[in-house]
């Protein structure tokens, strides 16, 4: 899983019908001290994260392993909201 910050929301009316009702967020990978890294991802939000929160994003086929995203065309999912981290 990677650390990322929620930096925006995506609205898309025309999409695969299995994606109806899912919330899409734009996330930017961050370092351990919450500084921005390169790039961004669109991820399905399975935990109700808000803009500005630091979250964990699961990628690849594992992104389909939540009740919200099972068997859906998804390759990135927000599956946790980070309270605190302690790194050396």
């Amino acid at each position: 899983m990677i650390l990322a910050r929620v930096i925006g929301t995506v609205w898309a009316t025309r999409k695969d019908e299995k994606l109806q009702g899912l919330k899409l967020q734009i996330v930017r990978p961050v370092t351990l001290d919450y500084k921005d890294r390169e790039g961004f991802l669109v991820a399905v939000d399975a935990v109700g994260a808000g803009v500005g929160e630091v979250v964990l994003v699961v990628q690849g086929s594992s992104a389909r392993q939540t009740s919200a995203t099972e068997n859906k065309p998804v390759d990135a999912t927000i599956m946790a909201i980070v309270d605190k981290l302690d790194a050396t």
Partner: protein, 88 residues
Amino acid sequence: MYLARVIGTIWATRKDESLVGTKMQLIQPMDRFMKNSGEPLVAIDTVGAGQGETVYYVTAREASIPLRRALSPVDASIVGIVDTIENY
């Protein structure tokens, strides 16, 4: 599988329900000479690794196998603690 060093712990109260009670660690990928290689990531820990220990981990969908749950959004999982590495 890849080599890494455990560099910290991460707390997330709000997370996918399948991950409640699961320990997560911050790991720094390393090469076989124990040099850092790439960005740190978050992995679940099912073997009880401690801070500073050298471990090996699996990525992608296989990473959810150690949890033995039908659905668990995990793409990195510590599966062993390294005692020694011998390079030839």
